[in-house]
């Protein structure tokens, strides 16, 4: 399909959409005026699609420098009477949380929806945290779609709910919902036509400090009002069409409560195995619909709770059983029926149900010993830095510099950060020893430099530096910390699919924008040593790192070269391999580890379809066996 149909499509149209595309259609149907994000997988495609469609959809859209700023852009838009949308991956909520928590107190005027995408099984994340905890921490409603149609419908509904109660609303997806594709039937589009010369509508902020300024004198009342709203919304969750029962059982003995992607597995296992289990799906799960759940539990002897990540519904069910004095056994994560971690699937759910219901007759498929051996022997295929990636050249160079300074690997601590360059953890680079979160490499550099006698090298990407690397750099200079900070400036936010960032002269809607210089920014933070290097020039890389490591202050090296995946770059021809010059030292394979160079049957092979002509291998080979292509 053409993505423009997300804007032009009319009620009744059906499209085969990614969950994240369905979210965009929900935003368009809801008549949103302002949207802001910081890209993070599994939510990234929402931003990529909005970036393309914003103007046609009368939406102002920005890639904010981080999730907290995005939250603030959305909160103030909603306070000004507009519908606003912010979205992020689950850990983005941590960054946004300081402002998010207070948004619950001050409330909104126009509808405000926050989509947070959890990543059970950590496909591209540093942890498995559960966004549903944030709904409870801040006391805001949360909806949990299970499929693409629900993503679209719930996003739209969340705006109505938000406006009805003047409260932000969270929509929680998981990787398997955001990256599911399914059939979505479109609904009607709310009008959000512009009322001014811009393509998006402007609102008006009506001053009311007692509502919007949480000084102690006002914030206490705000908290009272928040609870009042939540009690009223609980009446809605008890009756919501998104919380429904499916009667699979002939008698009321076993029940199952589930939400989000976990519900899909539970549904299929019960349905396709013909199990005598009634299912309650919770799509609108906080405020917890206690009366509805109590009614469901009333006739049951035993209930299964099938939910991914934390045992949240399970604890609420246990509390309901206690409060209503019911006699129902609960089988969930807490009693070991289901795992406490990682995503579920139909196999995990049926194994758990089978512990109580004994319905499976497992016939193990037996394969030949030759196949078992083959399965053990196949090479793995982990993600790698691309051929022509500037990060590879920089990592190769810093390791050479360390070696030439007579230092051992254990003499240098590498604080890494979040991006493609985290792949520097892999051999032969081994350049990631510690990592906490977005921007942590700079604060970690501060800590290691005062806590150890080791040298410290921190790595951060351009987008991550703008996200949360600047304020710790000010800390580093002011508190006289001694480490080498490398900003890997590849002119894009690469890992999440190539979004612009403030270092690039283009904004989230494709318009020209001021470019922020990392070099000047580092100098303005007070760094005396700031060098911009071309990572593909190994001699310069090695010389600069040797210099930087011998300094006693915070040294900043900007390793600047565009990501090889950026479209439209002029590239050099692939390198040639001159077999007669090859000395079989294997350095091109063992020290550079470029995916375009491999050793097959004892012979170096260059895959010209992969080679990007970065020519770094030519500088690595001492024997002239690799030469520039013509």
């Amino acid at each position: 399909m053409n993505l423009k149909e997300l804007v032009t499509g009319v009620a009744g149209d059906k499209q085969f959409l990614l969950g994240n595309e369905a979210a965009v259609r929900g935003v368009i149907e809801a008549g949103v005026s302002i949207a802001a994000t910081y890209p993070g997988t599994p939510s990234s495609e929402i931003g990529n699609v909005l970036s393309l469609l914003a103007k046609e959809a009368n939406i102002y859209f920005e890639f904010s420098t981080n999730e907290k700023v995005a939250m603030e852009v959305a909160a103030t838009a909603a306070a000004s009477g507009l519908r606003s949308f912010t979205f992020m991956k689950h850990v983005g909520m941590n960054v946004a949380s300081d402002s998010f928590m207070t948004t619950a107190y001050s409330g909104v005027n126009g509808g405000m929806v926050i989509l947070s995408a959890d990543d059970p099984s950590l496909f591209s994340s540093q942890n498995e945290q559960d966004t549903r905890n944030y709904a409870r921490l801040a006391n805001v409603p949360i909806l949990e779609p299970s499929n693409c149609q629900e993503v679209k419908d719930m996003v739209k509904y969340a705006f109505d709910l938000s406006e009805q109660f003047n409260l932000p609303v969270i929509v929680r997806t998981t990787t398997r919902v955001s990256h599911m594709r399914g059939v979505v039937e479109f609904g009607d589009v709310n009008d959000n036509s512009s009322n001014n010369e811009n393509h998006w509508k402007r609102g008006h902020f009506n001053k009311d400090p007692s509502k919007y300024v949480p000084v102690p004198a006002f914030a206490g009342d705000m908290h009272v009002r928040l609870w009042d709203k939540i009690h009223k919304i609980e009446e809605i969750t008890n009756k919501s069409e998104y919380n429904f029962e499916m009667d699979f059982a002939s008698d009321k003995k076993y029940g199952l409560i589930s939400s989000s992607s976990a519900y899909n597995y539970a549904h299929d296992v019960v349905k396709f195995n013909g199990l005598d289990v009634d299912v309650l799906k919770l799509g609108f799960s906080y405020p917890f619909p206690q009366d509805l759940v109590a009614e469901f539990l009333d006739d049951l002897d035993e209930v299964f709770i099938v939910e991914e990540v934390d045992p949240i519904i399970e604890r609420d069910v246990l509390a309901t059983i206690g409060a209503k004095n019911l006699n129902v056994s609960v089988h969930g994560k807490l009693d070991g029926t289901f795992p406490l971690f990682h995503e579920f699937n139909s196999d995990v759910v049926s194994d758990g149900l089978n512990k109580i219901l004994n319905f499976k007759d497992d016939e193990l498929i037996k394969y030949s010993s030759s196949l078992e051996k083959l399965e053990e022997d196949i090479p793995n295929r982990a993600p790698v830095l691309c051929a022509g990636c500037p990060h590879r050249a920089m990592y190769y160079g810093i390791n050479k510099a360390i070696d030439e300074l007579g230092l051992k690997a254990s003499d240098v601590v590498f604080a890494s950060d979040i991006g493609c360059y985290t792949l520097g953890i892999n051999p032969p680079y081994n350049c990631a020893d510690y990592l906490l979160s977005m921007g942590s490499s700079v604060g970690d550099g501060c800590g290691f430099s005062v806590s150890t006698d080791q040298k410290v090298a921190s790595f951060i990407g351009d987008s991550t530096f703008f996200h949360s690397g600047v304020s710790p750099l000010i800390n580093a200079v002011h508190n006289k910390h001694n480490f080498v900070l490398t900003v890997l400036d590849n002119r894009i936010t690469a890992m999440t699919g190539g979004q612009p960032n403030p270092g690039i002269p283009i904004d989230g809607m494709g318009d020209e924008a001021p470019e922020i210089s990392i070099r000047k920014l580092a100098a303005a933070c007070g760094c005396d040593y700031v060098r911009v290097i071309n990572p593909f020039n190994l001699e310069q890389v090695i010389k600069t790192y040797k210099e930087a490591f011998q300094r006693e202050d915070t040294a900043v090296i900007v390793s600047k070269a565009p990501c090889t995946l950026i479209k439209g770059l002029t590239k050099k021809p692939p390198v040639n391999f001159v077999e007669s010059n090859c000395n079989n030292c294997d350095k091109c394979v063992s020290e550079l580890a470029c995916p375009a160079i491999s050793k097959l049957n004892g012979k170096i092979t260059v895959d010209k379809s992969q080679c990007d002509g970065c020519n770094v291998c030519i500088q690595v080979c001492k024997y002239g066996a690799l030469e520039a292509g013509r």
Binding site: K14, R181, G182, N264, D347, L374, I378, P379, A596
Partner: protein, 194 residues
């Protein structure tokens, strides 16, 4: 079960796996069938193993249970082996015999003829095709996914018509590639049917 069909598609990032799956899914939708699909984006795309799962019929879950696939479609020989958790004795195993050798691995790449031999010892429906060669014959190595798409439509149990798959291809890919893609789809189809 009638009208239920699950396909597990796997290979290497960049081989066009998501596009292939989306085309099948859209064709299923156009034929009025229930369809759900799962794909993985992000870190796993940087030259790593990639897979999608597609289920036609009244399923809510887009993840195929172990031993639950009707078709394993692999774009690369060793990725076939990695996908075997999803197959059972009746599963059609269609795979491209042209290897993409991982750059940094401590293990040697196994012999592809031996992979085929071992698979045939264990499964009833093992259907190797040199998809890369057929793609090059059709006009470009990038048409590999279209060759394999054609191969899927040749399965007797596959619930979609070749015509609806071709329509969905045209709706998803640029017109200037349609002729090449049609050629690739036909050659993949013939290599299984023939």
């Amino acid at each position: 079960m009638d009208n239920h069909y699950s396909i597990y598609i796997c290979g290497v990032g960049g081989q066009g796996i998501i596009k292939t799956s989306t085309i099948i899914g859209e064709a299923a939708m156009n034929q009025g069938l229930d369809v759900v699909m799962s794909e993985i984006h992000g870190m796993s795309q940087r030259g790593g193993s990639v897979s999608t799962e597609l289920k036609i019929g009244g399923y809510n879950s887009s993840i195929i249970p172990n031993n639950g696939a009707d078709m394993l479609l692999a774009f690369e020989p060793i990725e076939t082996i990695r996908g075997l958790d999803k197959v059972n004795s009746e599963t059609k195993i269609v795979y491209n015999t042209h290897p993409t050798v991982p750059s940094s691995s401590d293990k040697a790449y196994p012999n592809v003829d031996n992979i085929t031999k071992i698979l045939k010892e264990n499964f009833k429906h093992v259907l190797p095709i040199n998809g890369t060669e057929l793609a090059i014959e059709a006009g470009s190595v990038l048409a590999l996914n279209m060759v394999l798409l054609g191969a899927v439509t040749a399965d007797d149990k596959f619930p979609l018509t070749k015509e609806s798959v071709i329509d969905a291809m045209k709706n998803n890919l640029k017109p200037k590639f349609h002729d090449m893609n049609l050629k690739a789809i036909e050659s993949g189809y013939d290599s299984i049917k023939g």
